[in-house]
Amino acid sequence: MMRLFRSLLAKYMMIIILAIFLMQLVYLILAVFVFSLSKGIDETYSSDEADYEAIEKQWHEEGKQLQGATVQEVQQLFEEWKDKYADASMFWVNQDGDLVTQLDVTEELPAEWTPEYTARFIKERYDGDPFTVIAFVGNDESNGFIVFEIPREVFKTPLEMTYDKFGAVLLIGSIIIIFLFIFLSFLFFKGIRKRLLHLQEAMEIRDVDGLPVQIEVNKQDEIGRLQQAFNQMVDELRESKLREQEEEQLRKELIANLSHDLRTPLTKINAQIYELEKADMPASTANSLTVMERSIADIDKLIENLMSYTLLMASKYKLDLEERDVIRSVRESLATWYPAFEKEGFTVEVEIGTFKHNNWLVDPIWFNRILDNLLQNVLRHANSGKYLAVKTESTAQYDAFIMQDKGNGMKGITEKKGAGIGLSIVDMMVKGMEMDWEIHSNDHGTMIKIIKWK
């Protein structure tokens, strides 16, 4: 119940009820006011006397009875009526159109009534003011007619008269009430709107960890409950984020330990091979040892890639984008790789110019990882070509790094892009940093392009 009273709906219903009530109250007050005012006004005629239809009927009847009446008789009739209706005026026009007698007529009447004038008079007075009754004298129309006139005003009730006087006040009062209602509604909705906008702003604020922050709840209405629900959601988000971080930490820890445990025996095997190599042995044995050594290096790289791949697939490999001079990054990466290529007898051609914007938005670790994986591939799989070229390319649409070798090509790799786990990592990282890449490979070599669209 308390809840209902605190709700915005209840508040608005209150406003509406109040408005209706006020409206009624104003009418009531005005009615009382008008009524008390009308008490002070004297009624000239009773409601029976002020009956237009009755007057008309009676006038016609009395006119009929005047068959062959004299002027005196007519005047006497007029006097009788005059006693009853002091404000009335009467006159008689005979069959010749002569105005025979009249009583208290204020307007100018012609002495001779032509048919045209008679017609005009009837037309003017029909349903007009003063209230006019025209009755034929006697039973037929040949004896002329008598006319009774009375201003309609004198028949008005006191209520009608007060209404005439105070009607404007009533209208203005009603209008004020309506405007008051509109104004209150406006204030009400303005208040709600303001709070909703505040709420929206507060909801958009983010903490350092990228999560929304709690909102202060100041009222217990619908918006207040919305704020509470939002706060609850924030708490739940935070909890789930925390859980996710813990899981992430566990997973990373697990992978790091696993990788450590796998590498330790590899190191031991490596040590044994190294010791063996010191001894004198036939060329075939020495060759076997070299193959073993290379296999160990391969397994090492595979473990590394497998771990990264697992983390990447689970989106647990954090992407930290920042502006980096990529030309410089590529050059420094090449500087560390150059000795390895030199040792294998590669011809290394480097033609790195500058782009219009050397700073790309990249994760430096990811970017280096991409270069490492690609260069490693050249060293391992394109060794037969003994050639590596690293170039930059700039067009209107993109900037790109190109890596080219003269190896045997990656058979089938273009069809099944990302078949190698190292290349899958390159693919995910390149796409993750909103860049693109292309592989063109045939029997005479491979060209890889890392593209940044403009």
């Binding site: 790091a256 450590h260 590498r263 190294y274 590394e304 050059r331 500087a335 000795p339 790195i352």
Partner: protein
Amino acid sequence: MARILYIEDEMEIGSWVAEDLTSRGYEVTWRQSGENLEHYLKDIDIAVLDVMLPGLDGFSLGKRIKREVDNLPILMLSARTAVEDKIEGLSFADDYLTKPFHPEELAARIEVLLRRFQKNEDILEIGHLKIDPKTMLIINQNTDEEILLTGKQFYLFQYFIRHLNQILTKEQLYEGVWGEKYMDGDKTLMVHIRYLREKLEENPAKPVIIETIRGIGYRVKI
């Protein structure tokens, strides 16, 4: 000869590395944990630490060593290859090598660190030059005359000597020697390298001491 403190709990790997480094002429102290570490710190030139150790791990040990002996180079040798590990390692250590590694690689990295920290006092012979890395005395063996380098040339060559066998990019050289950010198109470095070559090389048109690695940078190699 340089003295190495090597901490590794794996018996097989430890004995193999200790043996190999000893055979290369180093004086190796191999311990299986970081206990009583402080006794050795005064008498060593470089520390090689494994990360996963019983008790205090390699990262904590390394940080403690750095706090106590600031100018002692530390090389982390670990089977943990996660980027986070490398980043944490390199926040205090001077190099990070992952297992499995080749003993040649380890020896080469140790040499680089010793030279960078000027722990290696061996006289270097590069081409026709004889160089004392400690005093930077350069003797032309063809004429037995000392080569005198002026200001920036001296620092530039010293930078090369401390980063022997490493390819250094223009940016790295400029920022290492001048201590300012390299601006693209700046010719200062090129001019100084030309002067340096005129003094050091037998034939400055065909330099052999300071190699140009086309498109990447420069290198002084033994």
